[in-house]
């Protein structure tokens, strides 16, 4: 995570703690996408992920006084969301997967290239969902959210080294599956 973004978060945090609703809304706007994706990575379906994401965000933002700045705000918040999602997973007893991929093309590419990338991207994402949880989250958090391995480890409850190993195992396995 970039230093600039961290600094911005700290400014917003100070505002939110002082009762500035605009600062609170900005924190929500910045982090709700990552919160949703973390919950989705654990739960595997969008409806449960949206619920868990909402509940995790609410728990975290109501407990800002408990944030002591030992981790980045984003890591702290995502760890709370991950706990909430795991708790939902325990209650519902199993992961319900739905296909997850964006079907809208990105900017700046030719239409043919877009179609090929979209199909490949959809397949990559479906295969990602089949990795074991720690590998799946390590790959997801590193690529989607740009977290460092230390931050990934805080969320998947492992050391920095184990987070790195999970990431590389996940990537290696995905490449093998994609080549089949």
């Amino acid at each position: 995570m970039s230093q600039a973004r961290r600094d911005d978060d700290e400014t917003l945090l100070r505002g939110a703690r002082a009762g500035d609703e605009g600062a609170l809304d900005e924190l929500i706007e910045r982090h709700h996408g990552a919160a949703f994706r973390v919950a989705l990575g654990i739960l595997g379906n969008e409806a449960d992920a949206a619920d868990a994401g909402q509940e995790g965000l609410m728990r975290a933002l109501r407990a800002l006084s408990g944030f002591r700045g030992e981790a980045s705000f984003r890591t702290w918040l995502l760890a709370i969301v991950a706990n909430e999602a795991r708790s939902v997973l325990r209650r519902t007893a199993r992961r319900r997967e739905t296909p997850l991929y964006a079907d809208t093309p990105g900017p700046g590419r030719a239409a043919d290239e877009e179609v090929a990338l979209s199909a490949e991207a959809a397949r990559a994402r479906e295969l990602l969902a089949k990795l074991p949880e720690k590998q799946r989250l390590a790959v997801q958090l590193r690529i989607d959210e740009g977290l460092s391995f230390r931050e990934v480890g805080e969320i998947i409850r492992s050391s920095e080294g184990a987070a790195r190993v999970n990431y590389y195992h996940g990537i290696r396995r995905l490449r093998e599956w994609m080549e089949k």
């Binding site: 609170l24 969008e46 619920d51 690529i143 989607d144 995905l174």
Partner: protein, 152 residues
């Protein structure tokens, strides 16, 4: 070259690197087939990263503003599969019949009925003690999990 020696690849495909660093990684990827292959996978994954539902952020803002408690929202109505509904009906009927059986059972002076902390339990013909199943306090999710276990 191993892709492990190019740890910036995820940040490069996601456009998170400063321009100078991005140029250096691009030059490396051009010359390294291993990193180029991995970058292709990472690019595909990043391109399809899921977006949150549009109403999630406003929902959280509104809930915090209205000081709503953090409780699980009412579950969406999920249609139970036919077998689950049938199994539930059988269990309810069985529990009812069992309860009527206990209520109307003749008094055998405690020969088959043994006291327990919860009340009593019956020793069946095969000698297995069983109490009336308590399902009132089970959540929908717990009941569904129980039904799934029963259904194998």
């Amino acid at each position: 070259m191993s892709s492990k020696s190019c740890p910036q690849l995820p940040d490069w495909v996601a456009g998170r690197l400063p321009s100078e660093e991005a140029r250096a990684v691009a030059a490396h990827v051009d010359a390294c087939a291993e990193c180029a292959a991995e970058a292709g996978l990472l690019r595909a994954l990043f391109a399809a990263r899921p977006e949150a539902p549009r109403d999630l952020a406003p929902r959280v803002s509104a809930a915090l503003r209205d000081n709503e408690p953090v409780v699980r929202r009412a579950r969406r109505v999920r249609r139970w599969p036919g077998w689950a509904a049938s199994a539930a009906a059988v269990m309810v009927l069985a529990a009812g019949a069992y309860w009527v059986g206990i209520r109307d059972a003749p008094d055998f002076s405690g020969l088959g009925q043994i006291p327990t902390e919860e009340g009593s339990a019956w020793i069946s013909d095969d000698g297995i003690a069983a109490g009336a199943p308590v399902m009132d306090e089970l959540s929908d999710d717990a009941l569904l999990a129980l039904l799934e276990e029963m259904g194998g």
